[in-house]
Amino acid sequence: MLSVKGLKANVGDKEILKGLDLEIAPGEVHAIMGPNGAGKSTLSHVLSGREGYEVTAGSATFLGQDLLALAPEERAQIGLFLAFQYPVELPGVNNTYFLKAALNSLRKARGEPELDAVSFLRLIKEKLKILDLDDALLKRAVNAGFSGGEKKRNEIFQMALLEPRLAILDETDSGLDIDALRVVADGVNALRSPERSMIVVTHYQRLLDYIQPDYVHVLAKGRIIRSGGKELALELEEKGYGWIDSEGQAA
C-alpha cells in the first residue's frame, strides 16, 4: 500500500530524513517511535505534503501513485489522512460545515455524488455512535477553544468520516491524560479494518498499550534503525532510547 524507499528530506540546509525505508501492507498498523528530533514529524509532514520540506532523494509510492508528486489535497483524495499533532483552529468555521465540505470534496474527486445535508447528518450520527462521541463539538468552530483532548477526538472523528486507506496519527497521544488517551485509542481501534492501514507516530510506549501495532519501528537520526514486533516497544520502554541510540551508532 505504502512503499517508502531511501527517503531523504531537508528543512532549509539541514537534512532531517537520511534515507528512510518503510513498507506497509493493507490492514497493518505500524508504530513509529523515536526520541525528540528523530524526524518523526518530518516524516508525517513529508508524506502528507506539507510545504517547507525539500525531498532530496528517494521515493514514496502510495496505492501505485507517486505520492510526492501530489498536492496535499490530492493525497487526501486518494485516501491519505493525517491526524495532526497540533490540530489547527479555524475560527468561525463551523465544524459540521467543514466536515461536509471535506467529505464532499473527496467524493467529488473520486467521481462519487456529493452528499446532501440530510444524508450527511445521518452519516455523522452513525459515526458518532461508533466513536461514542458527543455531538456538541460539531456545532462549534473547528478546533476553536477545544481542549487538547477534544481536538484529538475531533481528529479521530474526521478520520472516521473521511474513511482513509492510510491514516498517519502524528503523536496523537501528546498532551492527553489517560482517560482521553483511552477514548482516542478506542476510536482508532474501532476504525481498524483489513483495508485500512495506519502509521502511529509516538514518543511514548503507553499509546501502544491501547493500540496494538503489528510492527514497531524505531526512528533515530532520520533513519529507521530497528524494526520488530510490539515487543520492541516494551523493550524500548524499559531501556530508553539511549540504548538503541548507542546500539544504532555501534551498528
Partner: protein, 481 residues
C-alpha cells in the same frame, strides 16, 4: 512559491459581471454649471423648491475643496468631464409591468443573478430596480401601500409626497456636510424614498439594486428612509456594474431617520467594478451614509459587505440623539488587486444611555490597501453611553496593507468604552490543515475568510448572507497566502 503565483492570479482574475447593455441613453453633455443643475431639475419636472435646493447646494459646492485626508490615491477628478444626467429612453411612458421592460435590460439583470421576477416575489422581497438613474420597475407596491408603507423613487416622492420629503431631505446629511454630499445635493439623479408610518412593521424586506451603466456618467443616488415612531424596516441595497475603461464617480447620499422606538436595518452588498490589473477603470465610491436616531429607544443598524470599487470612501454613521438609542455597524470590506478602501463609521452619542456596537472585518489581498477609520464620540450630555468596537484585519499575501485609525472622544465620565483590534494572516497551518482534508487552496481560503466574517454575515438577512458569501468567494478566487 504557490502563494506568489496565486496572489497574482487574483489580480488577473477578470470581473465576473463585466459586461454592458446597449440601451440608448438620454444623456446630458458633460460639464457642470447652474444651467446643468436647472436642466436636471427641469427634466425631472421638479417643483421649484427642489430646483432652489439644488442650486443652493451647487453654489455652496463651488466654495468647497475636495477632501484629501483619506488614505487613498487617485488622479484628480475633472468634474467638468462628467455627464450629470442619464436616463433610459422613454421615461415618461415608463413600463407598468415587467412585460414592458426592455428585454435587454432584463437579460442584464438575469446575468447578474438578480431575480427580479417571480423568484423574488416568492421570496417576499419588493424590488425597486434602478437602472442608471431612473427607476424602471417596482413590484409589490400594492402590499406595501396596504400597510401604508411608501416605497418609491425619490423623484416620484418629490412629486407625490412633497410634504414628507421636504422636512427630511438634507436634514441628516446637509448639503454643507462634505464635498461629495454637496455635489450630490446639486445633481442627484434619482434614488429611493421609504416612509414607514407609525407603528407599522414593514411587511417585507425592501430591496434596491443599483447599477451604473451609461458610459462616463457620474452616478448620484439619493436615498431617504423615514421610520415613524414604533415602526420597523429592513432595507437591502446591492450593486454591480459593467466593465468600463474610464473611472466612474459614484457619490451617493443615504439618510435614515428613526423616531421613537423605531428601527431601521440597512444592509448593503457592494460589488462594483474594481478596475483592471493596473487598477484602471474602476468605480470611485465616495458615499455619505448617515442615520439619525432621532427618537428615544430608536435603533439604526448598518451592515455592509464591500468587495468592489477601485476606491471606497465611506463611513456609515449613527447620530444617537434619542435617549436609550442604539447604533450598530457591521462591516466586511475586501480589497484586492489595486483596490483602496478608507472606510469605517462614526458613532456620535448625544442622548443618555445610548449604546453602539462596531464590528469591522477588513480583508486585504494582492496589493489591496485598506484603512479602518472610526470615530466614537461621547458628548457632554451622553450619560451612561457605551461603545464596543471590534476591528479585525486579515491579510492574504505580503503586498497588501491594513491600517486602523480609531478616534475616540469622550466628554462624559460615565462612558464605557471597549476597543479590540487584531491583525492576522491566513496561516500556512490553516491552509495545510484544510488541504490535508481534501479541500483545494481556494476552497480553504474561502472557508477561512467566511469564518473570519461570520459575525457580520450573521447580521445580514438570510438571502443576502448567502449572496455575500458567494461574492466573497468569487472576489478572493486564487487569493492564497
Amino acid at each position: 512559491m504557490t502563494s506568489a503565483r496565486a496572489v497574482d492570479d487574483i489580480v488577473k482574475s477578470e470581473y465576473e459581471h463585466g459586461f454592458s447593455t446597449e440601451i440608448e441613453s438620454d444623456t446630458l453633455p458633460p460639464g457642470l454649471n447652474e444651467d446643468v443643475v436647472r436642466a436636471i431639475s427641469l427634466r425631472k419636472g421638479e417643483p421649484e423648491f427642489m430646483t432652489e435646493w439644488r442650486l443652493k447646494a451647487y453654489r455652496h459646492w463651488l466654495t468647497m475643496r475636495e477632501p484629501e485626508w483619506a488614505m487613498v490615491n487617485y488622479p484628480k477628478i475633472d468634474f467638468q468631464s462628467i455627464s450629470y444626467f442619464s436616463a433610459p429612453k422613454r421615461p415618461e411612458d415608463g413600463p407598468q409591468s415587467l412585460d414592458e421592460v426592455d428585454p435587454l435590460l432584463l437579460e442584464t439583470y438575469e446575468k447578474l443573478g438578480i431575480p427580479i421576477e417571480e423568484q423574488k416575489a416568492l421570496a417576499g422581497i419588493a424590488v425597486d430596480a434602478v437602472f442608471d438613474s431612473v427607476s424602471i420597475a417596482t413590484t409589490f407596491r400594492k402590499t406595501l401601500s396596504e400597510a401604508g408603507v411608501i416605497f418609491c423613487s425619490i423623484s416620484e416622492a418629490v412629486h407625490e409626497y412633497p410634504d414628507l420629503v421636504k422636512p427630511y431631505l438634507g436634514s441628516v446629511v446637509p448639503h454643507t456636510d462634505n464635498y461629495y454630499a454637496c455635489l450630490n445635493a446639486a445633481v442627484f439623479s434619482d434614488g429611493t424614498f421609504v416612509y414607514i408610518p407609525k407603528g407599522v412593521r414593514c411587511p417585507m424586506e425592501l430591496s434596491t439594486y443599483f447599477r451604473i451603466n451609461a458610459r462616463n456618467t457620474g452616478q448620484f443616488e439619493r436615498t431617504l428612509i423615514v421610520a415613524e415612531a414604533g415602526s420597523y424596516v429592513s432595507y437591502l441595497e446591492g450593486c454591480t456594474a459593467p466593465q468600463r475603461d474610464e473611472n466612474q464617480l459614484h457619490a451617493a447620499v443615504v439618510e435614515l431617520i428613526a423616531m421613537d422606538d423605531a428601527e431601521i436595518k440597512y444592509s448593503t452588498v457592494q460589488n462594483w467594478y474594481p478596475g483592471d490589473a493596473q487598477g484602471k477603470g474602476g468605480i470611485y465610491n465616495f458615499v455619505t451614509k448617515r442615520g439619525d436616531c432621532r427618537g428615544a429607544r430608536s435603533k439604526i443598524s448598518w451592515t455592509q459587505v464591500e468587495t468592489g470599487s477601485a476606491i471606497t470612501w465611506k463611513y456609515p454613521s449613527c447620530l444617537l440623539r434619542g435617549d436609550d438609542s442604539v447604533g450598530e455597524f457591521y462591516s466586511v470590506a475586501v480589497t484586492k488587486g489595486r483596490q483602496q478602501a478608507d472606510t469605517g463609521t462614526k458613532m456620535i452619542h448625544i442622548g443618555k444611555n445610548t449604546s453602539s456596537t462596531i464590528v469591522s472585518k477588513g480583508i486585504s489581498a494582492g496589493e489591496g490597501q485598506q484603512t479602518y477609520r472610526g470615530l466614537v464620540r461621547i458628548s457632554q450630555r451622553a450619560e451612561n453611553a457605551r461603545n464596543h468596537t471590534q476591528c479585525d484585519s486579515l491579510l492574504i499575501g505580503d503586498r497588501c496593507s491594513a491600517n486602523t485609525v480609531p478616534y475616540i472622544e469622550v466628554k462624559h465620565p460615565s462612558a464605557k468604552m471597549e476597543h479590540e483590534a487584531t491583525t492576522s494572516k491566513i496561516s500556512e497551518d490553516q491552509l495545510f490543515y484544510c488541504r490535508s482534508r481534501g479541500l483545494t487552496e481556494e476552497d480553504a481560503v474561502s472557508m477561512i475568510v467566511n469564518g473570519f466574517c461570520k459575525e457580520v454575515f450573521n447580521e445580514l438577512p438570510m438571502e443576502f448572507a448567502v449572496e455575500a458569501q458567494k461574492l466573497l468567494s468569487i472576489s478572493l478566487e486564487g487569493a492564497v497566502g
